[in-house]
Amino acid sequence: MSKYTLKCLFVDLDSRSVRFEQVPQDISLKYIGGRGIATHLLGLNPMLKAGEPETPLIFSAGPLTGSRLPSTGRMSISSFSPLTNTITSSSVGGNLGIQMRMAGLDVIHITGKSRNKLVLCIQDRDVSFEDVALGEDTPLQEVFLKLSSRGSVAAVGSAGFHGCLFASIMVDGAYAAGRGGLGYVMASKNLVAVTVRGSHRPGVGDRYMEGITTEDILRLFDASPAIMGVSGIHRYGTVSLVDLMASRRMMPTANFRKTFFEQYRAFSASRIVSTFKATHNGCYACPIRCKLKSDGGKELPEFETVSHFGALNENADLMSIIEANRICNEVGMDTITAASTIACLAEIREKKYTGDTLVGKVKEMASGKGLGELLQMGSRRLAEELGQPGTSMSVKSMEIPAYDPRGAYGMALGYCTSTRGACHLRAYPISHEILRRPVATDRFSFQGKARIIKIAEDVNAVIDSMGACKFAFFGASMEEYALGMKAVTGLDIEPQDLITIGERIFTLERYINCQRGFAKEDDFLPARFYKEHGTPGPGLEIPPIERALFKETLERYYRVRGCSPDGVPTEKRLKELDII
């Protein structure tokens, strides 16, 4: 086996010192890169709190990041979440991961807290710290404009500096490490931005094999309706899901009190594409290009954002959805939590925030002033503060995305077992429950879902760790990407070996969360989903989820994952996976 060691840059902002280190080969092989190596590094000190100086903020590229394999321009940003208190990591596009790899870096590990606001600048092996004089409310676009000559830029916006618990980190102006409040962690270090420029393309073990595998993957993309089909994400971006979620009666509406919004066509994909004469944009080396841009070059929102600023808030005003998204990106706030928190407030106050009023609430939230101070704590804290905890539609304090769990039972389980709170992407069962890829499963059944979700979590953990994009797996599979790994790294690794690495990563994440105090009772949906019906459709009932059945499935999941009946990974499983 060829030598495989991850190159890590440790940065201490207190002393403004750096050191380069190679991660030992055994650890590098066990955690592979990206989300995996970040999980390992965070696990070394699992009780740290988000926002404390010694808490690391980790940028980590995957071994495939920067290769020519399709859809591999991704990287991870990780830390402990101020919103959820879990370990958290976010997969993000843009050029940062590629520039890191070109600078010979797999990981940037940042601890400490700078006295003044600063920018960390990396150019190959040169690292410098530059104090910056930026106003509290400098829009992120200005930051990017100012810094873009230095390579790829990851920056935190004003929301982070105002203490927003779901502040995001934006990369290269358009790509968000959105969920879980990584921007808060970055701002708490007084770190405004990280810029990276590298000048050496990462080497590839077998260029010929890389080419063959690329062809195999592209063939599968072409064969996937969800990717390259007439209404696939290649053509309409992720908003192509709007119509489908509405017709399946699983479009969260009125803070999840309904599952269908009659006016959904106001923000359907065809409406958005025709209104803004949308063109495509995408991450490096990605033929899918699922990001939409208006003809004026502005980023258009993703499905989750559109659906939550739309249906969840009963808002049929497309322009206000676009504006709410723009503000979130300008100040660096997670759109899903932002929209869901406003919907929660609307329910508590028995109001609707739509159009300009909705935009006003987003601005208030971004400012952190007045009610904004409470809004930027997220829905769980807001609802508790206002005396109605049952109105926060969150799991582990993370707001539920735009797929109603009553319409997809695997998704219901996946929200609860996700290691960063309610996240659709940790297991993404929508792929088979709704998009029928690679095969369909019964969306109203828990049958087999415990093992299906567990395997999907493991697969997605390793996808994030390789630097690939989950959407690529609507077409391709681990078989092709494992070949790609062989070609790029020279490692003799099979698809199932990769999934085992994913299992190690996910199990360690769960173990870390358990050490931080998370327990079985945190693995449930809000009570609403076990009590209230969704909106019926023609020939379609959306009943509440049977809590007893859910609990039974969760317990099955624990067994499959190698956990105790309380959901804690057993010593036996931790040892089998070589975690301890």
């Binding site: 195999d216 592209l218 063939r219 599968l220 993309f221 072409d222 064969a223 996937s224 309706p225 969800a226 390259m228 089909g229 007439v230 209404s231 696939g232 994400i233 309409y236 908003v239 192509s240 899901l241 709007v242 119509d243 489908l244 017709s247 359907s268 994909a269 065809s270 088979h432 709704i434 998009l435 029928r436 890829r437 690679p438 095969v439 369909a440 499963t441 049958q447 087999g448 879902k449 415990a450 093992r451 299906i452 395997i455 493991d458 697969v459 599979s477 078989e479 494992a482 099979e494 698809p495 199932q496 070996d497 999934i499 085992t500 299992e503 099955r556 999941y557 067994r559 499959v560």
Partner: protein, 378 residues
């Protein structure tokens, strides 16, 4: 779980993939293994423990496929790499085991979704459902059949004498030749000209079943559409043609909805075929002799067209990508209302009824069988 196991065991037998239900063992796993067998073989437990899979089929394929495996193993002892388009896209190659210890099997299945055991049994896995393992099993049988006969044809001095693979069967086996026959028994769909949405759906369900029962679609799913008023009704992706109830998307022809993101991967081709021909009924199956005959002769290049009799054969990738069938198939259909996609399957259309489309597909398949017989002097 047990119901699903029964269902796919029944399908293995009904589709002639195994000769008897005794020949197949099916397993599903959630937090424990489900099976008809009371005692779960150790090897199965080992595989579920070692591999991230939810389902497993271990079965002796039909006698015909078993014989084909025997012949192919002589020339491809380690791995068989079929060259039909679905295999290239989804299966890549099929490992052939040299040993039956659990580690050897697991090693093969760590890399691929299915493999061939030393006794000719096929082992197929699914990462999500048992249906996946069934599809892998069925696809392997289809791929082996097609590979065997296209190898034999081409090495017997097919017009160009070209071979398609590094390991190629040279000598046809008389046992195998004696086992093949034309498609049948045939069950034609009913002659209905749909006038309402209800008609469209029930006709499509019936035609899908007839296509499967008549053996005109193997392995991957095939697809079917009908256009009425301003909508195309098309089968969903990964929908078995004999189980279309509830799996038909209604797609607005003006493109105003993206609901069809779940529709068949060939939807782009269906839309364009309808646009060019105005034919309402479009059927796509994988009749094996048509696929074999489409591969007779020089391997085709993307975008190329040739003829089998007066039926165009075109080559494009599955789907609507830049190199997709969508660019080459519809013009060919405009020419003759039927076309074969090289190494893939047949598309036929009918102006108003599926019966037309079905009959054309059957006619072509029979003609291809006769051609094959002639070439092999059977």
């Amino acid at each position: 779980m047990m119901e699903t196991i029964e269902k796919y065991l029944g399908k293995l037998v009904a589709q002639g993939l195994v000769d008897s239900s005794e020949d197949a063992s099916l397993f599903s796993m959630d937090d424990r293994i489900y099976s008809k067998d009371e005692n779960i073989p150790q090897i199965v437990e080992y595989l579920f423990k070692t591999l991230n899979i939810t389902s497993l089929i271990i079965a002796r394929p039909s006698r015909l496929i078993l014989n084909i495996i025997g012949e192919l193993k002589k020339v491809c002892p380690d791995r068989i790499a079929p060259k039909d388009s679905e295999s290239i896209t989804f299966i890549h190659d099929i490992p052939v085991l040299q040993d039956m210890d659990s580690k050897t099997i697991a090693t093969a299945l760590k890399r691929r979704k299915g493999c061939i055991a030393t006794d000719g049994s096929i082992i197929a896995t699914g990462s999500i459902t048992l249906e996946q393992a069934f599809v892998v099993f069925s696809s392997i049988c289809f791929a082996l059949f097609v590979k065997y006969f296209s190898d034999v044809l081409n090495s017997l001095g097919g017009s160009h004498g070209n071979v398609h693979d590094e390991c190629t069967v040279i000598e046809p086996s008389s046992t195998i030749l004696g086992m093949i026959g034309p498609p049948g028994p045939i069950r034609r769909p009913s002659l209905v000209i749909p006038e309402s949405e209800y008609d469209v759906i029930s006709t499509k369900v019936d035609t899908g079943k007839a296509t499967v029962e008549s053996g005109l679609v193997d392995s991957f799913f095939g697809n079917i559409s009908y256009t009425l008023d301003d909508y195309m009704y098309i089968s969903q992706t990964a929908a078995a043609l004999d189980e279309l109830e509830g799996l038909i998307d209604k797609v607005a022809l003006d493109g105003s909805s993206t609901n069809d993101i779940t529709s068949s991967s060939e939807m782009g081709s269906h839309l364009r075929i309808h646009e060019l021909t105005l034919d309402r009924a479009i059927l796509h199956g994988h009749p094996k002799f048509s696929v074999i005959m489409s591969m007779y002769g020089k391997p085709m290049e993307l975008g190329e067209k040739r003829y089998l009799g007066d039926i165009p054969v075109v080559y494009g990738r599955v789907g609507a990508g830049k190199k997709g069938l969508v660019h080459v198939l519809p013009p060919a259909m405009q020419e003759s209302r039927a076309a074969i996609a090289y190494g893939h399957g047949t598309f036929t259309s009918g102006s108003e009824s599926f019966l037309d489309a079905f009959d054309k597909m059957l006619y072509i398949e029979n003609a291809c069988f006769e051609m094959l017989k002639g070439l092999l002097s059977i």
